[in-house]
């Protein structure tokens, strides 16, 4: 594990990604105490205050400090997206492994069904789910988890199938090992690495999808300072105060970049290749 961290720190993507991740984690954990103002504190005199010494990122239509709202909003965006991705990924991984393990007709049926489900665009699936389950952050996260699962199942299956072809798995079968040992001890550790990489990159998508749902009014609800929602609210004032909109936009992009970089860094770090 420390070995992988070392290798991660040797790639430029890894360093940059980990650095950004540290900032984001800090914002999620300590956002409320780091924020210079309360995110709900209104100040009518300071409405649409441009970025400056008083408000680093400016103030919004109600005079609320944008930086404070961003910092507090981090914890209502990122942890949910991460949790949604990883729980969806877990379900997908189980289905994918099962499919690869069963093989034959079952595998074919599962794979075809997954492919069919993926014919519905992620966003549309999430939209239908949220409109079914009702608006709100938790339901949006659930919808994201469900829409992540099929593609993760597909990735897992193909990785598991290639691992299954490896001679060490054949050796375990020839040795007369039980199915449990083969799946858990021989295959899983080798399937895990590519899945972690894939899931990390998908966190970026989840953050974006979550923000999109909030933007469309189906995710987080006002007065939350979720970033997508902030953009949605700021749209009406983009003529007077573009900073209210640009700041959360950059926050979303930075988060997505962070997880993309991290995923790419992990790809290099977890696959010890020939150094030549």
């Amino acid at each position: 594990m420390t070995d992988a961290l070392h290798r991660l720190l040797r790639t430029p993507q890894g360093v940059l990604g980990l650095g950004l991740l540290a900032v984001l984690v800090l914002a999620c954990l300590l956002g409320r105490s780091l924020a210079p103002y309360s995110p709900e504190a209104m100040d009518f005199a300071g409405r649409f205050a441009p970025p400056g010494a008083r408000h680093w990122f400016g103030a919004d239509q109600l005079g609320r400090d944008v930086l404070s709202r961003l910092l507090v909003g981090a914890s209502s965006t990122i942890p949910l997206a991460v949790a949604a991705t990883f729980s969806g990924a877990l379900v997908g991984a189980c289905v994918g492994t099962l499919s690869a393990y069963l093989g034959g007709r079952w595998d074919e049926a599962i794979t075809r069904t997954i492919d069919a489900v993926m014919a519905i665009p992620h966003l549309l699936l999430a939209l239908i789910l949220v409109s079914t389950l009702g608006k709100g952050s938790t339901n949006a996260a659930l919808a994201i988890a469900i829409s992540v699962a099929p593609s993760m199942a597909r990735v897992t299956r193909s990785v598991a199938l290639s691992v299954r072809q490896q001679d060490y798995v054949k050796a375990a079968i020839a040795r007369g090992e039980g199915a449990g040992w083969i799946v858990l001890r021989e295959m899983l550790p080798n399937v895990a690495a590519p899945l972690i990489i894939e899931a990390t990159i998908r966190v970026a998508f989840a953050v974006m999808l979550f923000a999109t749902l909030s933007f469309l009014g189906l995710g987080a609800q006002p007065p939350a300072s979720e970033w997508g929602l902030m953009i949605s609210e700021a749209r009406r004032f983009m003529h007077q105060a573009p900073w209210i909109l640009v700041a959360p936009a950059l926050a979303i992009a930075t988060t997505a970049i962070c997880f993309n970089l991290l995923g790419d860094g992990l790809r290099d770090a977890l696959n010890p290749r020939d150094e030549r």
């Binding site: 075809r112 069904t113 492919d115 069919a116 489900v117 993926m118 014919a119 519905i120 665009p121 992620h122 966003l123 549309l124 939209l127 239908i128 789910l129 409109s131 079914t132 009702g134 970026a204 974006m208 999808l209 923000a211 999109t212 933007f215 469309l216 009014g217 997508g228 953009i231 749209r235 983009m238 003529h239 573009p242 909109l245 640009v246 936009a249 979303i252 992009a253 930075t254 997505a256 970049i257 993309n260 970089l261």
Partner: protein, 315 residues
Amino acid sequence: MTLAWLLRRFFTVLYTLLVVSVLVFGLTQILPADAAVTLLGENATPAALAAVRERLGLGDPAWLQYWHWLSALLQGDFGTSMRTSQPVGPAMFTALGRSLLLGGASLVVMLVIAVPLGMWAALRRGKAADLMSSLVSYLGVSFPEFVTATLLLIVVADYFQLLPATGYVPPGEDLADSIRHLILPVVTVSLIMVAHVSRMVRSETIDVLNSDYIRAARLKGLPPRTVLLRHVLRNALLPTVTIVALDVGYLLGGIIVVEEIFAIPGIGRALIVAITSRDLPSIQAGAVIMAATYAVANTLADIAYVLIDRRIRYD
């Protein structure tokens, strides 16, 4: 390409649509909305509500409702919109036409930019150009469509007032104006795909450049241009066909958001309207049509792949 292979592809599309229809119908059935109330309004009398429920078959078991819906669907009847009381089918297909214009234009723009960008980055691997292109692709995949769209609106339409902000003009009406209205939506939709596809083209090209047959072509004394155009291009582009086909799913998702922001009356906007007004027949029809578009696009890509690549085996 054998007949058996085509048949299998055809059955795959059918199966996809079957699964999608079950899924969409199942999801929308558990929508916590009483269709009768939606149709008649909150103040309807219980008797009127009961009559409507009877007419719509809302008292039937779910599978029977599904069967009625599906058999109507197969006869081209998508039902009647609860919002407008108009048939859903014609409205959705008109909207689909506008979306296909936006999607098709985005796809073309994306390919024109992404393919040369990816190949250029691969050829200058590790140099400034490569770093530039990977920076572009990191930024590209990290901006959701609604952010890109809003930022473009602020800068291009609002600040510089170069292009109209929102709206849709049919190409038959005023071609120039139609194009002017399409530019920002197309840029928004294609940006993420440019980022994704150019990275794929880059890595495919690098693989091809490292292959024995490219070495062999160089060692035959062929000039670099010939090697690139005759030997590298086709092999690097083949896998891209599949990737682009899979990205069509992403494209359709992007279209939903972009149509909403730029007020384009396409199928994505129709879906959002349907979802917010809980118009079940429209949601069902829109989702099935979108999934069908995706399935057909993928099948066409598969057929194109087989036609270009002689190696493909039919299984």
